[in-house]
C-alpha cells in the first residue's frame, strides 16, 4: 500500500467533449508533483476532479490505498484533500479571518469561537509571511493578497493532499520564496503535493516529479532529475519554441510623462514612457503598481501631480476618457475587471472596441466575428467557437480574451497589469512577440509584471516600485534579477527561493 492519492482513468466532459481523457496520476506522500501543460490542457479540471469540485465521468480515486468518491469539496476536505484555486475565491464582505475559516469555523457547539478564529488566522498569515490584519475586510485587497488569504484558508485544514493551482502566478519572488518554504514543510511532514504552474524554473526549483498534459491527455511523467526545461516545453506544446532574445529598439518621442503624481497607494511618481518603448514596472505585492496603473487609466483620480500625454497636460477622469486619449489597461483581476463571464468570447473581446467596430450604432455581426476570429487565431485560443461563454474557458485562455479586447482598441499607450498571469509558455512567447511587435510599430507599453524573467526579457527600461514610490530605474538590457529584487525590497540578498 502506498501512502498518498492515486487517480486512475480520470475523464471529465463538458457538453460531450472530454477535456480530460483517461488521466492516471499518483501523488505520493513526501513528494511534490508538478502538473504542466498548455492553457486549456485540462490541469485545473483534473485538479478540481480530484478535490471533489467536478465529478469525473469516468475514473476512480484512491486515498492511501482505499477507494474514495467525493461528491463535493466538503467531502474532499474532510478526507484531507485541499485545493487552492487558480482564481482566488473569497467572500468580499467578510473579514480576512472569516474568509480563512468560512465553511469550517472553529466552533463550540453551534457557536463560533471568534477569539480563537482571530488568533489562529494571525498565526496562519504570519507563517505565510503576510502582513494582513485578520479583522480587516477582504473587499479591496489585491489579487495576490486574496490568493494568500485563500492559501491561509487551505492551510487551516489538516490536509494530507495539497493541490496548488497556479498559486504562484500573482506573486512576486519574495512571496514565492515564502510559499516554497511552506510547501517544503508540508512535504517534509509527509503530505502529497500537486502544483500546477506555467513557470518551469519553479518546477525545477521545487518539484520532484512532473506530469505533462496535452489536450486532456497525459503525455509524459518524468522525475525532475531525468528531465530538463526544453524537453518539458517540447512535450507541452508539441513543437519547438524559438525564444527570441531581447533586442534594443530606438525609442521615439515621449508619450507619457508624469511629474510628482500622487494618489491612493502611490506617491511622487516621475515616469516617462516613449513611443516604441516597453517600460517594465517591477515591485513586490502591494508596492502600488496596480494603483498607479488604475490612476493612469482614470479609474481613480490622482490627488496631486501632473500627467502629460504627447506633451499635452491631461486629466483622465474615467476609463472612457482614457480610451479616447488612446490609453488602454489590461487589468490584473480578469474575473471582475476584465471579463463578462457569462457572455461569449465575441462579446467580450469586442466590448471596448464595439462602438468603432459598428458604425451607426447597429451591431455589425460580420465585423464582430471577423475581428474576434482574427485575434482568436493569433492567440491560438482554445475554444469551441467564438460564441462560447468565457466562463467555460481555462484561465489562460480567458487572459487571452482580455488581451485581445485591449489590443483591438489600438492604443497609443498600452498598460499591462500582469499580462501573462496564467498564460502558458507557448502563448506567453506569442504574447511577448505581439507586445514587441506593437512597440516596434510605435506603441508605448507600460508593463507591470511579477514575473521577473518576463520583465527582464521584454523591457527596454525597468522602473522598480517600493511602498508607493519609484525607487530605481534600470536599463532593461543590463539589469539583473538581483538588482531588481534589491531595489524592490531595499535589502541585499533577497532572491528567488
Amino acid at each position: 500500500m502506498t501512502k498518498g492519492l492515486r487517480a486512475a482513468g480520470i475523464t471529465i466532459s463538458f457538453g460531450g467533449i472530454d477535456v480530460v481523457a483517461g488521466v492516471d496520476i499518483k501523488l505520493r506522500s513526501g513528494e511534490i508533483h508538478a502538473l504542466v501543460g498548455e492553457n486549456g490542457a485540462g490541469k485545473s479540471s483534473l485538479a478540481k476532479a480530484i478535490a471533489g469540485v467536478y465529478r469525473p465521468r469516468l475514473g476512480s480515486l484512491e486515498l492511501n490505498g482505499v477507494g474514495v468518491k467525493f461528491r463535493n469539496p466538503r467531502e474532499a476536505l474532510d478526507a484531507g484533500v485541499a485545493l487552492i484555486h487558480q482564481e482566488p475565491i473569497t467572500f468580499p464582505d467578510l473579514s480576512v479571518a472569516e474568509n480563512i475559516f468560512a465553511g469550517h469555523h472553529l466552533r463550540c457547539g453551534p457557536f463560533v469561537r471568534w477569539s480563537a478564529t482571530l488568533a489562529r488566522s494571525r498565526e496562519l498569515l504570519e507563517s505565510l509571511g503576510v502582513a494582513l490584519d485578520p479583522a480587516s475586510p477582504v473587499a479591496g485587497l489585491s489579487v495576490a493578497a486574496r490568493q494568500q488569504v485563500e492559501l491561509a484558508s487551505a492551510l487551516s485544514h489538516d490536509a494530507t493532499v495539497w493541490i496548488f493551482d497556479e498559486t504562484t502566478a500573482p506573486l512576486t519572488p519574495k512571496e514565492v520564496a515564502e510559499l516554497f518554504t511552506v510547501m517544503r514543510r508540508l512535504r517534509d511532514q509527509g503530505c502529497a503535493l500537486l502544483i500546477v504552474t506555467h513557470h518551469l524554473q519553479e518546477v525545477f526549483a521545487i518539484a520532484d516529479r512532473i506530469t505533462v498534459l496535452r489536450d486532456g491527455k497525459k503525455v509524459a511523467e518524468k522525475t525532475v532529475a531525468e528531465s530538463n526545461e526544453d524537453e518539458i516545453v517540447r512535450l507541452m506544446v508539441g513543437r519547438e519554441l524559438s525564444l527570441e532574445r531581447h533586442e534594443a529598439r530606438e525609442a521615439g518621442e515621449e508619450l507619457l510623462v508624469t511629474r510628482g503624481l500622487c494618489g491612493p497607494g502611490f506617491r511622487d511618481i516621475d515616469l516617462t514612457v516613449r513611443c516604441g518603448e516597453i517600460v517594465g514596472l517591477a515591485g513586490l505585492v502591494g508596492a502600488g503598481r496596480t494603483e498607479l496603473a488604475r490612476a493612469l487609466f482614470g479609474i481613480t483620480r490622482p490627488t496631486a501631480g501632473r500627467m502629460l500625454l504627447e506633451g499635452q497636460e491631461v486629466q483622465v477622469a474615467s476609463p472612457r476618457t482614457a480610451l479616447r486619449l488612446g490609453i488602454s489597461l489590461v487589468p490584473e483581476d480578469r474575473l471582475h475587471e476584465g471579463l463578462l463571464l457569462p457572455q461569449s468570447i465575441a462579446v467580450n473581446s469586442t466590448l471596448a472596441y464595439l462602438a468603432r467596430l459598428c458604425n451607426g450604432g447597429w451591431l455589425h455581426q460580420k465585423n464582430i466575428h471577423a475581428e474576434t476570429n482574427k485575434y482568436a487565431a493569433r492567440f491560438r485560443l482554445a475554444c469551441r467557437n467564438t460564441d462560447q461563454a468565457v466562463s467555460e474557458l481555462s484561465g489562460g485562455n480567458q487572459q487571452k480574451v482580455v488581451l485581445a479586447k485591449w489590443l483591438m482598441t489600438q492604443p497609443k499607450l498600452l498598460i499591462l497589469d500582469e499580462p501573462t498571469r496564467g498564460v502558458d509558455v507557448g502563448a506567453k512567447s506569442e504574447v511577448h512577440r505581439i507586445i514587441r511587435e506593437l512597440a516596434q510599430e510605435g506603441m508605448a507599453v507600460l508593463m507591470i509584471s511579477s514575473d521577473l524573467p518576463e520583465v527582464l526579457h521584454l523591457s527596454d527600461r525597468i522602473a522598480v516600485m517600493r511602498e508607493g514610490r519609484i525607487v530605481a530605474q534600470l536599463n532593461g538590457a543590463e539589469a539583473t534579477e538581483e538588482q531588481i529584487m534589491f531595489a524592490a525590497t531595499g535589502q541585499q540578498g533577497a532572491a528567488l527561493g
Binding site: 469539496p73 473569497t90 468580499p92 464582505d93 472569516e98 468560512a102 469555523h105 457557536f111 463560533v112
Partner: protein
C-alpha cells in the same frame, strides 16, 4: 455600532428633533407608545427578511403569509376560544413555517429565482387566504381578550409601556442578532450572500442555508399574523399584511443592508424599523394634510437614503 448604524441613528434623532420642535407633544409617553406599537409587527418580519436578503434572496410573500396565518389562527380560535396562548403563537409560527418551507422547497429544489417564487406565492397565498376564510373576516368577537391584551400591556418604564408584543419582537431581534453574529449558521448566511460560488467550494450547503432562511422568514411572518390579530383585534383576509412586503424591505434596506446580500446588521434593521415607525406616527401627530402624507413619506425616505450615501462617500 458601526458607521452606518450611527448615521441612521443620527438621522433618526434629527428627524425627531425637527418634528419635536413643531409638535412638542411628540415626546409624551403616549406618542412614544404609539411609535412602539408600530414596531413589533414590522420588526419581527424584518428579522426574517434580513436573513433572506443577507443570503442574496428576497421574500415578497411575507404579507400574504401574515394574512394566511392571521386567518388560520383566527379560525382555530373561533373553534377553540380557550386555547392557551403559547399554543396560539406556536400555531401561527407553524402555519408560517409551512408556507415558508413551501417557498424554500421551490426555490432550493426547483432552482427558481426567489423573486419569481415569492411573487407567485404573494398572489397564491393571498388567494388561499380568501379560500380558507371563505371571504369572511375574523371579527373581534372571535379573538380572546387574553390575546389582544398583549398589545397594550407589558412592562412600564417611566410612563411608557413596552408592550408584550414589543418585548417579543425585541427578543426575536436579539435571537437573530446572536444567531447571525455568533453561530456557524449565521456566518454561513453571510458567506452565501457574499459569494455563493465560494460558499459552495468551501463546502457550505447553500441549499440547506437557503431552505432555513426562507422557512424562518415564513415562520416569523406567521408569528406576525398572530401579533396582527393581537394588535388590531380583527383579521381581514384581504387587507391583513397586504403591501407589507415593501414596508419591510424598505426597513431592511434603510437599515443599511446590502440588497445583493452579504452585508447588514440587526441593529441597522432595528433602526430602520424605528425610523419607519417614527415617520408614520409623526405624519399623523404633526397633523400633516392627508393629501401630502405620501409625498412627505417619500421625501423622508429619499433623504434618509441620500444621507447614508453621502456619509459613505465621505468615508471613502
Amino acid at each position: 455600532m458601526g458607521k452606518r448604524e450611527g448615521i441612521a441613528f443620527g438621522f433618526l434623532v434629527l428627524l425627531s428633533g425637527v418634528a419635536g420642535l413643531k409638535e412638542p407633544r411628540l415626546f409624551q409617553p403616549q406618542s412614544i407608545e404609539s411609535v412602539l406599537l408600530w414596531m413589533p409587527l414590522i420588526t419581527v418580519v424584518a428579522m426574517g427578511q434580513l436573513l433572506v436578503i443577507l443570503t442574496g434572496g428576497i421574500d415578497l410573500s411575507i404579507g400574504s403569509i401574515l394574512g394566511f396565518s392571521g386567518i388560520g389562527v383566527g379560525l382555530v380560535l373561533k373553534a377553540n376560544p380557550h386555547l392557551p396562548l403559547p399554543i396560539v403563537f406556536l400555531a401561527g409560527l407553524a402555519i408560517g413555517l409551512a408556507l415558508g418551507a413551501f417557498n424554500a422547497a421551490v426555490i432550493v429544489w426547483g432552482k427558481i429565482s426567489p423573486l419569481i417564487v415569492t411573487i407567485g406565492t404573494l398572489a397564491a397565498f393571498r388567494g388561499l387566504t380568501f379560500i380558507l376564510s371563505k371571504g369572511d373576516q375574523i371579527d373581534s368577537s372571535m379573538i380572546p381578550d387574553s390575546l389582544t391584551v398583549l398589545a397594550h400591556s407589558g412592562i412600564t418604564i417611566a410612563h411608557v409601556t413596552l408592550s408584550w408584543l414589543l418585548i417579543l419582537a425585541l427578543t426575536i431581534a436579539l435571537i437573530t442578532f446572536a444567531t447571525l453574529g455568533f453561530t456557524t449558521f449565521g456566518r454561513n448566511v453571510f458567506a452565501l450572500g457574499s459569494n455563493a460560488d465560494a460558499a459552495r467550494l468551501r463546502g457550505i450547503s447553500s441549499g440547506s442555508v437557503q431552505f432555513a432562511v426562507y422557512a424562518i422568514c415564513g415562520a416569523l411572518a406567521g408569528l406576525a399574523g398572530v401579533m396582527y390579530a393581537s394588535r388590531f383585534g380583527f383579521v381581514n383576509p384581504g387587507s391583513a399584511g397586504s403591501s407589507f412586503e415593501l414596508t419591510v424591505i424598505a426597513a431592511v434596506a434603510i437599515g443599511g443592508t446590502k440588497l445583493t446580500g452579504g452585508s447588514g446588521s440587526v441593529l441597522g434593521v432595528l433602526l430602520g424599523c424605528l425610523l419607519l415607525s417614527c415617520i408614520n406616527v409623526f405624519l399623523s401627530l404633526l397633523g400633516i394634510d392627508a393629501n401630502y402624507q405620501m409625498l412627505t413619506y417619500g421625501l423622508v425616505i429619499l433623504i434618509a437614503i441620500l444621507t447614508d450615501a453621502a456619509a459613505r462617500r465621505g468615508k471613502a
